[in-house]
């Protein structure tokens, strides 16, 4: 069954949210509609869009005009209503709000999601990011707690430092507690390239500090 069909089935079975986006069905105007979950009481006053690709522009910048390169950041703009004609448009729009999130969720449901821990991810880097793998465990733990904090990213971390070293408890690991059963989770199956880039910076700082001593 296609991803869009499974998504449609889930929505018909009362899944009604993903991240900060509310999923509405059988509205007067279209089979599916999306809006910011904080705008559910303001539907009649929202700016209407009918093209699923409008989701890209809506999700691109925050209210201050800053680039949202991490789409799971909790700063999605409000004030819009996206009316969608069918399950393919729904899937397309959600893939623009939360890239690959629906597919990752279904893969986890099916037991075929491949999770990679941080150390193997860092070990496979080349070029300027090769140095990132030298980051200390302490440095990596602190970095994850900071960069993956719910204030920065609402994705649920599925990985650890490596097979033997779990991630330390921090708000970065507590995101599942805030999700309802009717919500498609935002899953983090491996560290993003932003985190890899930050690991490199910390690794370099650690190395500079060690040289200075």
């Amino acid at each position: 069954m296609k991803i869009s069909q499974r998504l449609s089935q889930a929505v018909q079975a009362k899944v009604d949210r993903i991240g900060q986006v509310a999923i509405l069905t059988d509205t007067q105007s279209s089979p599916y509609a999306l809006c910011h979950q904080q705008d559910l009481d303001l539907i009649d006053s929202l700016t209407v869009h009918r093209d699923p690709f409008a989701a890209r522009e809506i999700a691109k910048l925050d209210d201050e005009g800053e680039f949202r390169f991490l789409k799971a950041a909790l700063n999605l703009k409000r004030g819009w209503l996206l009316l969608l004609a069918d399950e393919e448009e729904l899937r397309q729009a959600l893939d623009l709000f939360y890239p690959a999130a629906v597919g990752l969720w279904l893969a986890r449901e099916d037991g075929r999601l491949h999770v990679q821990n941080l150390r193997p991810k860092l070990k496979r880097q080349t070029g300027m990011y090769r140095f990132a793998h030298t980051i200390s465990d302490e440095g990596a733990q602190a970095l994850v707690a900071k960069e993956c904090h719910p204030e920065n990213c609402s994705k649920m971390i599925l990985w650890h430092l490596d097979e033997e070293v779990p991630l330390k408890e921090s708000p970065a690991l507590c995101k599942e507690e805030n999700q309802s059963a009717r919500q498609i989770p935002l899953l983090c199956e491996e560290a993003c390239n932003h985190l890899v880039s930050q690991c490199r910076k910390v690794a370099k700082a650690e190395a500079d500090q060690a040289k200075a001593l």
């Binding site: 296609k2 991803i3 690709f53 890209r56 691109k60 910048l61 680039f67 390169f69 991490l70 789409k71 893939d95 890239p99 690959a100 629906v102 597919g103 990752l104 279904l106 893969a107 075929r112 999601l113 491949h114 990679q116 496979r124 080349t126 070029g127 199956e189 491996e190 993003c192 390239n193 932003h194 880039s197």
Partner: protein, 268 residues
Amino acid sequence: MTDLSHTALLIVGHGSTENPDSSGPYFDHAAAVREKGLFAEVHLAFWKEEPSLREAFYMIDAEEIYVVPDFISEGYFTQEVIPRELELDGPTTVVHGKTVHYCPPVGIHPTMTTILSRRVEQEAPDIRREDTTLFVVGHGTALNDNTTRAVKDQAALLAERFPEFAAVHPTFMEQEMFIEDWDKHCETPNAVVVPFFIADGLHSYQDIPVLLGFEEDEGLPASQKDIFRQNPYQIRGKTLYYTSAIGIEPALGEVIIDQVHTFRENHL
């Protein structure tokens, strides 16, 4: 005509964590290909944005996928990063049960020279070419010679196709011949600078204008400036035209499709 209607196309772009305009052209290219209705699905994946290359697989229903790097050359990304991230080990690889065909990047397509020349025609249509030096600018990298070679090859092809230009130079942001020294290699009153990049992102909208000398600092991203509407610039005693990157050319959608056909001719 090859039936691709059961397959997916995955276009791979670089993207940026800092510049919101960087991924724009890739979305345009994907839209152009989608309009043709050739593939069951058309998706995008990025090195620096979402979805990542590994995440992208989870978006795809099709069992057979053509991957086209939307990059200007063979090089570090197309030969090392993308195959590693997509877990490819050759032209065709079975990855998590899906058959993945790895096509050549757009930048090595024969029409690249025409696409570059159209940037010149668009931004400086009335310029006297005999009084003009043309600069093609690329990134330059110590990691892989192919990227450098691509810029040099295009400069040579442009010089051959347009002998009326006084000179055509390949230049780079991070290696000799440095673009910031453009005026030292410009014996004509006019100069045209063409960035050999897909996207008008950090490099072409922010870094290169600073290196050329008509912007003082990195400043705002492209979409918040009118850099290309202010041509020509009077700078360092010359009249300089600065074109946008090649990503805005509508022909790139066709180039992507062509690279799939090229793959099929060579490997299937």
